[in-house]
């Protein structure tokens, strides 16, 4: 594998969204990095690319994708991968991440993070796709655990066992979404602490924090709420296990003023620092 390893980084950041572009361009925002949705900037030109270049001069940028589809049975989309590579080469991002999911099959693209069965067949396929992506990008990838609303009858291992095997086989790292663990744990009735104990802690390079909503029959990963108390509690548990890693707040809908998100980020800092003091 030609992918380079990731330099340790334990800063605190925010997802960069259009309502906050001006804040980031005109003031000194107290974040250690920003994360952007890769696909929003895999375009030919125009204002978004120009803004990202300006912000890249001020902050490290992490690229977080939603369309790589490492779980697609018919493999990766080469044209997509080359567009992503061009952006990666241009930005030299802090991280390049995507999700453990599939979005596309035989020309159909659902534009959603669809669940995979946790089987040996799926593991073989996901690992092959991740290794291809890492080879093309020349970088180690971070793969994020999904939130899911169903489980498959054919599952032969837990999600955390799947992630552990995936990291071991591909050399990829993990983007641990604590809200996703909580949402899936409630929806499927597993113990989120057992999940944290099961994932390979030394592979976690980044943590996502977000909010969710109560749907009719299950929790939905909406990113339209502040981080709720149970997710903060689970974050504290995650910090104890993975140690200092990059942490960020994700907010994609009903986006509040930047100051509100920075207050949430201070909360994350306080929890992580408390854990780091206790560990010292």
């Amino acid at each position: 594998m030609t992918a380079t390893t990731i330099t340790p980084f334990d800063g605190f950041g925010l997802g960069l969204r259009p309502p906050h572009y001006q804040d980031f361009l005109t003031s000194s925002v107290q974040v250690d990095f920003v994360e952007v949705i890769s696909e929003n900037f895999m375009v030919d030109g125009g204002r978004p690319r120009h803004i990202l270049d300006q912000i890249r001069e001020r902050h490290p940028v992490a690229l977080h994708g939603v369309s790589m589809s490492v779980g697609s049975a018919d493999g990766l989309d080469r044209a997509y991968l080359m567009r992503l590579k061009a952006l990666v080469d241009h930005l030299d991002p802090l991280f390049v991440s995507d999700h453990l999911c599939w979005t596309r099959i035989e020309g159909f693209n659902a534009h959603d993070l669809l669940p995979l069965p946790y089987t040996e067949e799926a593991l073989d396929l996901v690992c092959a796709n991740i290794m291809e992506a890492q080879n093309v990008l020349g970088r180690q990838m971070l793969i994020e655990n999904p939130s899911t609303y169903l489980q498959f009858a054919a599952d032969s291992m837990s999600e955390w066992q799947f992630l552990d095997a995936m990291c071991a086989r591909t050399g990829c790292s993990l983007l641990l979404d604590v809200n996703n663990i909580y949402v899936s744990a409630v929806n499927h009735g597993f113990d989120p602490i057992a999940y944290l104990d099961g994932v390979p802690a030394n592979r976690v390079r980044q943590i996502h924090l977000a909010g969710h909503s109560q749907g009719r029959d299950c929790l939905i990963d909406t990113h339209d709420q502040p981080v709720p108390p149970p997710v903060w509690a689970l974050y504290a548990e995650a910090c104890r296990r993975v140690g200092p890693v990059a942490t960020m707040i994700e907010r994609d809908d009903d986006i509040p003023p930047l100051a509100d998100l920075l207050t949430e980020l201070d909360m994350a800092r306080a929890i992580a620092v408390t854990d780091r003091r206790q560990a010292a």
């Binding site: 375009v43 030919d44 125009g46 369309s67 779980g71 693209n109 534009h111 669809l114 067949e121």
Partner: protein, 261 residues
Amino acid sequence: MSLAAMQRDFAEWLTDRAGTMTAWVGGAAQAGLDVYHNGYRVRLADCLREMFEKTALWLGDEAFMAAARAHIDSTPPDGWTLGVYGDGFDRTLARLYPDDPEVVELAWLDHALARTFEGYDADPVSADRLAGVNWDEASLIFVPTLRTGPAITNAGAIWSALAAQEEPPAASILPQPGAMLVWRQGFTPCFRTIETVEADILAAAAAGAGFETICASLIDRLGAEAGVARAGALLGQWIGDGLIAEIHQAGSNRIATPFMQ
């Protein structure tokens, strides 16, 4: 289990809420399948509403959502970006509104402006560049965001009124059919409605016709004095609008303009 078969079944569930997907997950997962099905449709409808904002204002929310549902039913997304999902929505509207051509033209304009927003960057030439040009051997290279579409209605005026949050004019047919010209000035998408003669000349110029050929064509259509005057006026207008990326002199390598209809 065949992963490919499951994913095909899942895709069928998302698009039609039908097929054998429930066999992979069991009846207890019906609620979860519904979350994915609903999320799929809401996401595509939101994409269309955002891209076709003025068309939605013109039709009203109920009629627009009915059109969006028809498009979602007939057109599953195939691109890795939702940015291309609006491609072809104007054809769906043409089927639904055969007697209201302004609806289709509004949709074309919304779509062209949205796509132009993220098109290739180019620095247009200024009037200073005109000095020293040998016009007998010159041709024009346009900015890559330039695209044109037919205009038989006052959709441009309707779009502008809606953008200004003013009462839009009633739909009407133009006295003479023309075209809508869309491009980006700096980072700002813009458009204007043009007459057929400008649209024809622009298309010829973008296809590589030299400025001398353009002048000859205008002289044929308008007569010697008016033709030459019109050629100069169009050149001035195009320079002022920021439409021209380069003036090519014969003998140097020419890069064709990707002229999009």
